[in-house]
Each structure stands twice: as structure tokens, then as C-alpha cells.
């Protein structure tokens, strides 16, 4: 039994404790220590990636009793659904630390400790195989973020962080209750106390129970993801957080919300999911349009990216609730794609803002002339974000939209218009910031990417390009697990059963209504 996962979770914790030994005024040492720890963790984590066997289900499993009398165990493992987020956590933490290098000037130890602990919390949440353990990590990962936004954030940081935490807790506490209920239900049905996740799948509930529990779980994940209309914490938190934190928040933490749907909500309540999925897809579709349209009229670049993130996360939700392998595989793939693209956009906006002290789009203009590297990086990431084929955003988006189309034609059709909106707001942003003549004297001699900044963007860009060019690197690890997921939740059969209506007429987009609720 390998202890790799435990080491990956514990190492940052140890590193952040070790950081306390460094005197507070040795800033470079602190930074280097944090970066080193995260890089070491990443290096170890590569073993996870390369050791992962796509067909083998849960791997790197560890199980130890925690509170056996309550059926609580320390049980962790990764499968294809969680592997990607786990890797994201490992890869993006050093990037975020590097991005914080000059941005964070005070209380360094606390900041970097939070950053490392955040990684541990998120990693723990995705690899947990025990519902209780999951909940613990789920809450734990909230706290560093709370501090990072609140202590190192922007002007309205206190408001933003309180809103973020309280809003998130509203959802997760309700989920907590639902977890307890499920736990009892399992005991009532099977006579044993356990939080083992697979054992809690698809228990039989009365309709009322089922819907209440489904609602509680859904709310928790929907707030975290966020799904429209539970997003109102997002613009504030994303905008006010220090950008590396925004980066982690949007790149990884939001994904854990979406992951929750896959790991918990759907397998635990397949019946309810079957009925609710079209409505959730509608929410996703609406959120997609909503986020995109609002992004269109934002004047603050970071806020614009925040809304674009909402829009993209909505597609993920839609893809997941398409409940077919295209949608789900696409969503899981897009976890990564969105993390890199939107994350990198946040970082780039940060770099812009650092140079000018403002994120107001109108304050820029014509930057391309002065800062070609920055421009190239921005446009590259923009293209990834709008889903240009050949970059990884496309693969995910293609699969998700395809899945959505396959599950509910009208929703898929409307959602596909998203490719237009995203191009609208992103390209408009690019042209407003980078193109035209430099009209403001402050923008003369705009500093181009520094080497450190280039090293922040470079790994992201490289991964974006590679996984877009050869997505099988990732897909081959994800796909068997999605397959297994569909088999186990019983949605695989549903996809096949769709073959029944042979009448071509019902397939024309003109008359798809009869088809929409076919599953």
C-alpha cells in the first residue's frame, strides 16, 4: 500500500508548520521555502500521474481506521474523475506561489502557509473516499481561502470574504445534515455504520427524503461551483481576492464543487438526478448566457474574467448533467482546461493591474505595442478560453456541448451559442486593452513580461497547448472512470436506450421538444 497520497496531503502541512521557524523578516527564504515545498510536492505528485492506470479504478488507496465506532475511516484514493483535480492542485500551487512573489508584501508566512494548506485541503477533498473525511477537507479548504481573501485582498476584502465564507457555509452545513441523514439511512437499511462513499450510493429513499437530501447536496455544490443563481459571492470574492488566490479559487476550488456533483450527488441520488437533470442543465445553460452577457458589459477586467468563469463553470455543470460520457468526460477534461485558461487570465490581468494600479479596462489601450510578450500570452490564453480548436478549451467544450446536445437538443443548441458570446467579450477585452494607439501617457513604456512572470504563464501555456494538441494524454486516464461511473449509476443504459426513436423527424432541431426529456 503506497502512502503517496497521504504524503502529498501532509507535506504542505508540514512545510507550512516548518515555515513558522523562519524569521518573519527573511522574506526571500519564506518564499523560496514555500515554492520549494510545492515543487517537491509536484515532483512527488508526478508519480501519481504516471503511476495511474486508467482501467484500474481507485488507486493509491489508503485506508486506516479513524473512528471505527462511528464508521469513520481515513480512506483515500484516486480515480479518473479525481486524478485531474488532484494534479491540478499540485501543478497550480507552485504557479500560484510564483505569482504571489511580488504581489504579496506583508505577512508572508501566513500567506504562504495558507497557500500550502489550501493545496492540502483541496487535495484531501478530492481524494477522500470517506464521506466524513470529505466533509472535513471540504470545510478545511475554505479556511485558508477565507484568510487569503480577507487579509491580503482588495479594498472590499472583508465584505467579500465574509460573503464568500458565509454563503459557502450555508450550503455546506445543509449538506452536513444531509450527510448525517444518509449515514443513518444506510444504517437503517443495512445495519452498519459507515461513511464509505460507495456504500452510500443509491440507497432507497422515500420521494420526500430523496428530494430534500438531493436539494441539500445540490445546494452545497451549486454554491461552490457556482451554479446560477447561487453565484453572487463569486464576483466579489474573485475580484477582491489577491489574484493568486482568485487563481486557486477559480482554477481548483470551483472544480471541487463540480466534482461533488459527480462523486456524490449523482451516484447517491440517481433517481432524483434523472428527473432533475434537465432543469439543472437549464440552469447551466442560463448561467452560461448570463455570465457571458454580463461579462460583455463589465468595465473591470478582473470582474469580466470572473463572470466568464461563471459562464464556463455553467457549461461544466451542463456537461455533467447531460449524464452521458461525452458531457461528463468533457466536463472533467474541462476542469483542467478551464483551470489553466481562466487561471492564467486572472494572473495576466493581475500583471496588467500591477503595472498600472488599476483593473479598469478603459485605463489601458495600445499595450500591445509596448509589451508584445504580454500580448502574445494574453491572446494565446484568450484563444484557449474561447475554445479555439487545437488548444485544450476546445476539447472540453466540444465534448460538453456535444453531451448537452445529446441529452437535450434545445439546451444544447442554445448553449452552443456560447461559442459566439465568449468570442465577443474576450476579443473585445483584448482589443480594448492591447490594441489601438497608446492614448494614456501612463501606458507609455508599459513593462513587458518579466522572466518570473513568463515562467508563471509558460507552464500553463505549454499544458494548454499540449493537452489541446494531444488530449488523449488526459482523456485516456479519465474516460474509463467515466465509463465506470455511468455503468455504476445506471446512466450508461439510458444513453443506449436513446437509440429507440428511429424517426428522423424528431431529430430535426425544429422539433426537438419531444426529445428533450427522453432520458
Amino acid at each position: 500500500m503506497s502512502h503517496l497520497l497521504s504524503i502529498l496531503i501532509l507535506l504542505p502541512v508540514m512545510a507550512s508548520l516548518g515555515m513558522l521557524l523562519i524569521p518573519a523578516d527573511r522574506k526571500p527564504v519564506i518564499k523560496t521555502w514555500a515554492l520549494g515545498a510545492s515543487l517537491l510536492n509536484l515532483a512527488l505528485g508526478l508519480g501519481l500521474w504516471f503511476g495511474f492506470k486508467p482501467e484500474a479504478g481507485f488507486q493509491f488507496a489508503e485506508k486506516a481506521d479513524w473512528l471505527p465506532s462511528l464508521g469513520i475511516s481515513y480512506h483515500i484514493g484516486v480515480d479518473g474523475l479525481s486524478l485531474l483535480i488532484a494534479m491540478l492542485t499540485l501543478i497550480l500551487t507552485p504557479v500560484a506561489i510564483l505569482a504571489s512573489w511580488n504581489r504579496i508584501q506583508h505577512k508572508l508566512r501566513g500567506y504562504y502557509a495558507c497557500m500550502l494548506l489550501l493545496g492540502s485541503g483541496m487535495l484531501g477533498a478530492v481524494v477522500a473516499r470517506d464521506l466524513f473525511l470529505f466533509y472535513v477537507f471540504w470545510e478545511v479548504m475554505l479556511l485558508p481561502m477565507f484568510f487569503m481573501i480577507g487579509v491580503w485582498g482588495g479594498e472590499k476584502r472583508v465584505f467579500a470574504t465574509t460573503k464568500f465564507v458565509v454563503y459557502t457555509l450555508v450550503g455546506s452545513l445543509l449538506m452536513f445534515l444531509a450527510i448525517l441523514y444518509v449515514y443513518f439511512k444506510h444504517q437503517a437499511l443495512n445495519g452498519t455504520w459507515t461513511f464509505d462513499i460507495p456504500s452510500l450510493y443509491a440507497l432507497s429513499y422515500s420521494p420526500t427524503e430523496m428530494w430534500l437530501l438531493f436539494g441539500a447536496f445540490f445546494l452545497a455544490f451549486a454554491i461552490k461551483t457556482p451554479v446560477w443563481p447561487f453565484h453572487s459571492w463569486l464576483p466579489d470574492a474573485y475580484t477582491q481576492a489577491p489574484t493568486p488566490a482568485t487563481f486557486m479559487l477559480s482554477a481548483v476550488m470551483a472544480k471541487i464543487g463540480a466534482y461533488g456533483f459527480l462523486r456524490f450527488l449523482i451516484p447517491m441520488f440517481p433517481e432524483a438526478t434523472r428527473t432533475a437533470a434537465p432543469f439543472i442543465m437549464l440552469l447551466g445553460m442560463f448561467g452560461l448566457l448570463y455570465g457571458a452577457w454580463i461579462a460583455l458589459v463589465q468595465t473591470d477586467a478582473k470582474r469580466l474574467i470572473a463572470y466568464s468563469s461563471l459562464s464556463h463553470m455553467s457549461i461544466i455543470v451542463m456537461g455533467i448533467f447531460a449524464l452521458n460520457q461525452f458531457g461528463i468526460t468533457g466536463s472533467v477534461f474541462y476542469f483542467m482546461a478551464h483551470a489553466m485558461a481562466t487561471g492564467a487570465l486572472f494572473l495576466l490581468v493581475m500583471m496588467l493591474a500591477e503595472r498600472r494600479g488599476t483593473r479598469e479596462i478603459a485605463q489601458f489601450g495600445g499595450i500591445a505595442k509596448a509589451a508584445p510578450w504580454l500580448t502574445v500570452a494574453f491572446i494565446f490564453i484568450t484563444m484557449a478560453s474561447v475554445g479555439l480548436p487545437g488548444l485544450n478549451g476546445f476539447v472540453g467544450e466540444f465534448l460538453m456541448l456535444m453531451g448537452a446536445y445529446g441529452a437535450a437538443n434545445p439546451i444544447g443548441v442554445i448553449a452552443t451559442t456560447g461559442v459566439i458570446w465568449s468570442a465577443c467579450y474576450m476579443l473585445w477585452l483584448v482589443s480594448r486593452i492591447f490594441f489601438g494607439e497608446i492614448t494614456r501617457p501612463e501606458n507609455q513604456g508599459f513593462k513587458d513580461l518579466t522572466l518570473r512572470e513568463a515562467f508563471i504563464i509558460l507552464p500553463l501555456a505549454a499544458l494548454i497547448a499540449w493537452t489541446g494538441f494531444y488530449p488523449q494524454t488526459v482523456l485516456s486516464k479519465v474516460e474509463p472512470s467515466v465509463q465506470a461511473f455511468l455503468q455504476q449509476t445506471g446512466f450508461a443504459a439510458a444513453v443506449e436506450a436513446k437509440a429507440a426513436p428511429a424517426d428522423g423527424e424528431s431529430h430535426t432541431p425544429a422539433a426537438p421538444a419531444a426529445h428533450a426529456d427522453g432520458h
Partner: protein, 500 residues
């Protein structure tokens, strides 16, 4: 009717506490005057630890728990569990008062004597098996704590605190006593076991009398645990009392009151559960909402914590609702665990408050805590962890306590109650976070130059925080050498099962 020496051995912790209370003040005059507070504090601390050692030894020896002194008292596991908790609360408080009393120029001898006596009263409360001995326990504890609350005699707030506490406390004692009288009249006994037997046998004609008595007793006990609408004294008393005393009241006194309440409900009134369960449920709901709603806008941290303690009373009352005649039921042990978690948390916070409030307790508004994180990072972190524990966030003891409690409540079929509990947890998030936010995210306004007791505070709060995390995370197998939450849980479970 034979006097059995063995009985005295059984109540050794109680005796020790009383003896220490009587004789420790006598040591005071021989101590160097300028260091008197310091020595008194540590002597008391050691005395408490000694007592705790004895109690632990007794616990390890698997006490029989048979009622002694003609059924008035039983030093069972339950009592020992609570004894240890009280002693721990006392010990932490003693660490804090070591510097606090000299700082506030308060008398040491009487303080520690009263603290020991109050602990004696609590032990009686935890081990009493008869309503009358329990009543006496309440009185001993209360009298001592009244005096402690009014210890800063020259402070009008402290005066007011003791005034309210005393008058309302006596008022409620009288109500409780009237209840005891009626129960006695109905059942012919004050022993809890006897009452339960009487109820099991069907009660008889005097049932109305009993029910009235039980109602009055619940009111009396509700007052002690600060259940709404009998909670009104809590904020005023907590605010006015010296901070370490408030900490002591919020933890040991509350734990003792719950020990009392729980024992009475579990071993005395259980057969009549159908009668009281709705009353307690209503009290629980009302208490939770009252505490959480009132705490929301409270600027004074002591007062805010008073409301928070009311809210937590509400949660624990849910646990009482979930009690059942079955020894398998987890509700009782959940309350015990919750009390431990809650006590540790509040002790930690009040240790910090005592320190941060400065001489004369000037800085007790939450706003005053702005920027504590910059000045005292460890203390700020500790308070933050305690606040998270109060919210019930993992991996703290508060989370585990809530988990265990809500589990029990759901298990007994009161899911609706648990939902209200969760809603209340949500309501509580904001005001606890406010403290953390203020400490970490606001610029300092207060001036802490010349404060004393940082090291002792750190010691006290470190003990609490380690314990909170220890009880929260529990033991992983890779840390098998380190006993975690599991032993604590099984201790709580054993304790409650000793009631059966």
C-alpha cells in the same frame, strides 16, 4: 446504617477539593507578598491536577457507581467524567488568574477558595442521585459563583452582574425547589431512581402533582443552563463578571448544569419522556434562535459569547430531546462530548479575552480586537481556531461535537430539529467570523503596551487549542501512539452508560 470508609474513598476528589478550598487560603500568608498571586495560582493548579489524578485513577479503576450515602450520591463514571472536566476548567482558569488577579488587584485566597468550593458543588451536581443533593449542589456552586462574579467589588459592572445573577438565580432556585417539593409529594421520594421506578410503575393518582413539579424543575434547570426564555441573566452576568470567571461560568458552570439536567432527565424523568419531550424541543428551538439572533449585532465580545453560549445551550438541549431509555442511544454521550468541546473552546477564548482586555477590562468590544493578528499572531490564531470550533468547522472539536450531537438527534427521528440546528449554525457563522475578520483584516486601533501575562495566556490557550484539534482530528492509525477522539468518545459513552 453503617458508616463505610469506602464511601469516603469514593468521594475522594470531592473531599480533596473541599479540603483544598478550606486550607489553601491558609497558605497565603506565608507566601512572599509580591509573588503571592503567582504562587497561589500555581499551587491551585497543582492541587487541581492532583485531584484530577485521583479522579483519573478512580476512572481507570472502573468505579462501580453504586449510589452511596443512602442514595444521595454516586461517584460513577459519569460523575468522574464531569469531575475531570470541571477540574480541567478550573486548572485552565487558574493559569489565567495567576496573572489576572494581581493585574486586577483582586484577592487571591478567597478567589481560589471559592473556585474550589464551586467545583465541589459541581461534583455534587454531577454525582448527585437525589433531587435534594442535586439542589444542594446547585446552591453550593451558585453561591460560590455569585461571589466570584462579584469579585471585582469596586466595579459597578461586576456589582450589577452579581446582583442579577443572585436575584434571578435565587428566584429560579426557589422555583426549582418548589418543583422538587411537588415531585417529592407525588412520588414520595427525591431519588432519581425512585422517581423513575414510580413513573415506570404507572405513576398513580398524584401524576398531576408530579407533572407540575417536573415543569417547575425543568424551568429551574433551564435557568441554570440558560435556556430561553430563562436566559436573560446570561449576557449581563457574563459581561459584568471578571473575564476568567466568565470563562469559568461559561464552561464549568454550564457543564455542571448540564450534568445535572442530563442526569435528571435520563435517570429520573425518562419514563415520562412523552410528557416533556415537546417542552424541551420547544425550549431548544427557542434557545437556539434567541442566542443566535441576539448575538448577531452584539459589539461586546463577552456579551456576544454569552449569547453564543445560549445558542450552544440550545444545541445541547436538542441532545436532551434525543435522549431515550436505551443505553445504546448516543445522545447522552454526544452532549458530554459537546460540553468538552465547547468548554475547551470557551476556555481558550476567555483566556485570550482576559489577556487582551487589559487592566480594568477596558478592551472588550470586538472592534478593539482589530489587528490583534499583527500584534499577537498566536493568540489571534488561537481565537480564530476557537471561533471555528464554535461555528463547527472541521477539524476542530466543535465540529465533531456538532456532528455527534446532530447524529444523535437525527438518529432519534428528530431530523426537523436537526435542520433547525443547522439553520442556526448558519445564522451563527457571521458573528463568529466577525471576530476573526476584525482580528485579521482590520488595522489595529487598540494599544496593548504594558500588558502582562502573555506567556501564561499562551500556555493556557495552547493547551486549549491542542485539545480542540486533538479532539477534532482524532487519531489516525499512523498516530496510533496518540489517543485521539475515540478514547474521549468511549469515555463519554461509558459515562452515560453508567447512568443506566
Amino acid at each position: 446504617m453503617s458508616f463505610d470508609l469506602n464511601q469516603l474513598v469514593q468521594i475522594l476528589p470531592l473531599l480533596m477539593v473541599v479540603v483544598f478550598g478550606l486550607f489553601l487560603p491558609l497558605v497565603a500568608p506565608v507566601l512572599p507578598a509580591e509573588k503571592k498571586g503567582y504562587f497561589m495560582g500555581w499551587i491551585s493548579f497543582v492541587a487541581l491536577l492532583l485531584t484530577a489524578g485521583v479522579a483519573l485513577a478512580q476512572l481507570a479503576g472502573k468505579p462501580s457507581g453504586e449510589p452511596i450515602f443512602h442514595g444521595l450520591f454516586a461517584m460513577d463514571t459519569y460523575a468522574l467524567f464531569f469531575t475531570l472536566l470541571f477540574l480541567a476548567c478550573g486548572a485552565i482558569t487558574a493559569i489565567v488568574t495567576t496573572y489576572y488577579l494581581p493585574r486586577e488587584q483582586m484577592g487571591h485566597e478567597e478567589f481560589y477558595a471559592l473556585m474550589f468550593f464551586s467545583i465541589a458543588g459541581m461534583i455534587v451536581l454531577a454525582g448527585g442521585t437525589s433531587l435534594i443533593s442535586l439542589f444542594l449542589g446547585v446552591e453550593i456552586m451558585s453561591m460560590a459563583v455569585y461571589a466570584l462574579a462579584g469579585f471585582r467589588r469596586w466595579s459597578l459592572r461586576s456589582n450589577e452582574s452579581v446582583l442579577k445573577y443572585f436575584f434571578l438565580g435565587s428566584f429560579s432556585s426557589a422555583i426549582l425547589l418548589f418543583g422538587v417539593a411537588l415531585i417529592y409529594g407525588a412520588t414520595g421520594t427525591t431519588q432519581l431512581a425512585g422517581i423513575a421506578d414510580w413513573l415506570t410503575a404507572g405513576g398513580g393518582a398524584l401524576m398531576p402533582l408530579f407533572i407540575m413539579g417536573m415543569g417547575l424543575a425543568i424551568i429551574g434547570m433551564g435557568f441554570k443552563v440558560a435556556a430561553a426564555p430563562f436566559h436573560t441573566w446570561t449576557p449581563d452576568v457574563y459581561e459584568g463578571a471578571p473575564a476568567p470567571v466568565t470563562g469559568f461560568m461559561a464552561t464549568a458552570v454550564k457543564a455542571a448544569s448540564f450534568a445535572f439536567f442530563l442526569r435528571v432527565m435520563q435517570t429520573g424523568f425518562m419514563p415520562a419522556k412523552a410528557e416533556w419531550v415537546q417542552v424541551l424541543a420547544a425550549l431548544a428551538v427557542l434557545t437556539m434562535f434567541t442566542g443566535n439572533i441576539l448575538a448577531f449585532v452584539q459589539p461586546n465580545i463577552k456579551r456576544m459569547l454569552a449569547y453564543s453560549s445560549i445558542a450552544h445551550t440550545g444545541y445541547m438541549l436538542m441532545g436532551l430531546v434525543a435522549l431515550s431509555p436505551s443505553a445504546e442511544n448516543a445522545a447522552g454521550s454526544a452532549i458530554l462530548y459537546y460540553l468538552v468541546a465547547y468548554s475547551l473552546t470557551n476556555l481558550g477564548i476567555f483566556a485570550c479575552i482576559s489577556f487582551l482586555s487589559k487592566q480594568g477590562e477596558k478592551l472588550v468590544n470586538i472592534e478593539d480586537y482589530a489587528g490583534v493578528a499583527q500584534k499577537y499572531p498566536w493568540i489571534a490564531l488561537a481565537i480564530a481556531i476557537c471561533m471555528f470550533s464554535l461555528i463547527g468547522l472541521p477539524p476542530t472539536a466543535g465540529f465533531f461535537g456538532k456532528y455527534y450531537l446532530f447524529t444523535a438527534v437525527v438518529q432519534q427521528g428528530y431530523a426537523w430539529l436537526a435542520i433547525i440546528g443547522i439553520i442556526n449554525s448558519i445564522l451563527s457563522v457571521y458573528y463568529y467570523l466577525r471576530v476573526v475578520v476584525t482580528m485579521y483584516m482590520k488595522e489595529p486601533t487598540a494599544d496593548w503596551t504594558g500588558v502582562s501575562g502573555l506567556k501564561l495566556t499562551r500556555l493556557a490557550v495552547t493547551i486549549c487549542v491542542v485539545a480542540i484539534l486533538w479532539a477534532g482530528i482524532g487519531s489516525f492509525n499512523l498516530l496510533a501512539v496518540f489517543p485521539g477522539a475515540e478514547p474521549l468518545l468511549s469515555a463519554a459513552r461509558d459515562s452515560v452508560s453508567s447512568l443506566f
